[in-house]
Amino acid sequence: MAATRPLTVCDVYDRFVKGKKVPESEWDYTVIPQNATKLKEKYKLKFGSETIPEDKQTMNNLFCAGLEMLVETGYYCQDLGRVMKVTEEEVWEGIKKTPTKLILGEGRDIARFYPRHGNSPVKPIIQGGPTGSPISEEVFVQVMQSYAQEGIVDDLVNGVFTSIEGKKAKTNTPYEIRATMAELRATKEARVRAGRPGLGV
């Protein structure tokens, strides 16, 4: 049956609220492993010795298995303890709505995003950064500058302040917010120092 429209995040919330209640341990230890194994057997998936698949049938079977995993199993909201369902048609509507071209950053520092297919001769976007690794206050700007100044880097990803003004940047405290704001200021300074103020982050 055709979907009425792509789902919004509010539609997803509404479905969670009306969804079936399932204990989280049952989801983790029973629903996920049993359904994944069932689909592995249904689609006869067995990876060979190659890291990257060269067999198109394996790629297609894995895609079908993953799509069926989402549609048949549904999706779990940890806070509500409930499972929402989605149809295959709604999944495809969501995929159709997703942008396939994006621009990250601004000015002369933009990175253009296009789909690559297979091993395209165009390299992927290089997002350089500590990827959430803990960085001390004293060297945060320099660490981020070390990425921003690399010519091969197209975009940045932050590290995380472990402290702020000598206090631990503890989760769910005002210090966490102050540390986050300080990270943003430091990352801006690092981009300016590297001569690339418009790099996306």
Binding site: L45, L62, G66, L70, E90, F113, S136, V143
Partner: protein
């Protein structure tokens, strides 16, 4: 929004939970960013050896998770990162295979924008860290990823143990791999992964940023440049030529 804060064209990152789960804070962040027209990057790192089980089962969950990012949560880019339950890294033989298969499955059937993130076992200023990074970069590039993100060296958990030199390796390897025949990439990977996986149980911690760079000039030390050049020569012996970079 502050003058130095994220702008709509910066990727706003939110996480799914393992496996096929989310919490209310994730939904709420997405609702705000959607209303503001922000670029949304959704991440999830499926665990090999965790709830889903083996390689194929983890790859099935990975595909389902990626599709959910777009179809349920309105994101623009999915940031993957299959991770090994024993080693806590993305560069093991099994997790590279899971990432490559899941990406190739979506790449063949959609135009979605797919990324992957890097967590190495070894720390900065070691050849092992650079070889781990190179193996994943080859894998991601040849399986069709649009973005690669890193590197969280030392598994991303030790203070000040990440530097721009690891990102240089990630990017230069991607540039050299792009356009290569996939069978040839697989041949290189067989040699390359075998070189470092035997050292997982005693991976070198490497050095802190302050020991890898001159903090005043933000230039890498001669020591790190030498380690980098040694890794480039090792990659050349495996069949990947970085000499044009």
């Amino acid at each position: 929004m502050t003058k130095f804060g994220l702008k709509p064209h910066d990727p706003h990152e939110v996480s799914q939970l393992n496996e096929l789960k989310i919490d209310m804070s994730g939904l709420n962040m997405i609702a705000g960013w959607m209303a503001n027209g922000d670029v949304i990057m959704m991440e999830q790192m499926p665990i090999f050896g965790g709830y889903s089980g083996g390689k194929e089962e983890t790859a099935i969950c990975d595909v389902a998770t990626m599709v959910a990012s777009f179809a349920l949560f309105n994101c623009d880019i999915h940031l993957d990162g299959p991770i090994h339950i024993r080693w806590g890294t993305t560069t093991t033989r099994e997790t590279l295979q899971i990432a490559a298969h899941a990406c190739a499955a979506l790449d063949r059937n959609t135009d979605l924008l797919l990324g992957n993130q890097y967590y190495t076992l070894a720390g900065p200023c070691t050849e092992m860290c650079l070889l781990e990074t190179a193996a994943q970069s080859m894998t991601d590039t040849a399986s069709g990823r649009e973005l690669i993100s890193g590197v969280a060296s030392s598994k991303g958990v030790t203070q000040d143990r990440t530097t721009g030199m690891e990102a240089r390796m990630m990017g230069e390897v991607a540039g050299a791999t792009a356009g290569m025949d996939v069978a040839e990439v697989n041949d290189v990977l067989k040699k390359l992964v075998g070189l470092y996986e035997r050292d997982f149980s005693h991976a070198p911690a490497g050095k802190r940023f302050q020991e890898c760079y001159d903090v005043g000039t933000v230039l890498p030390t001669d020591d790190y440049i030498n380690v980098y050049n040694r890794a480039v020569r090792t990659l050349g012996r495996c069949g990947l030529d970085l000499s044009i970079f």
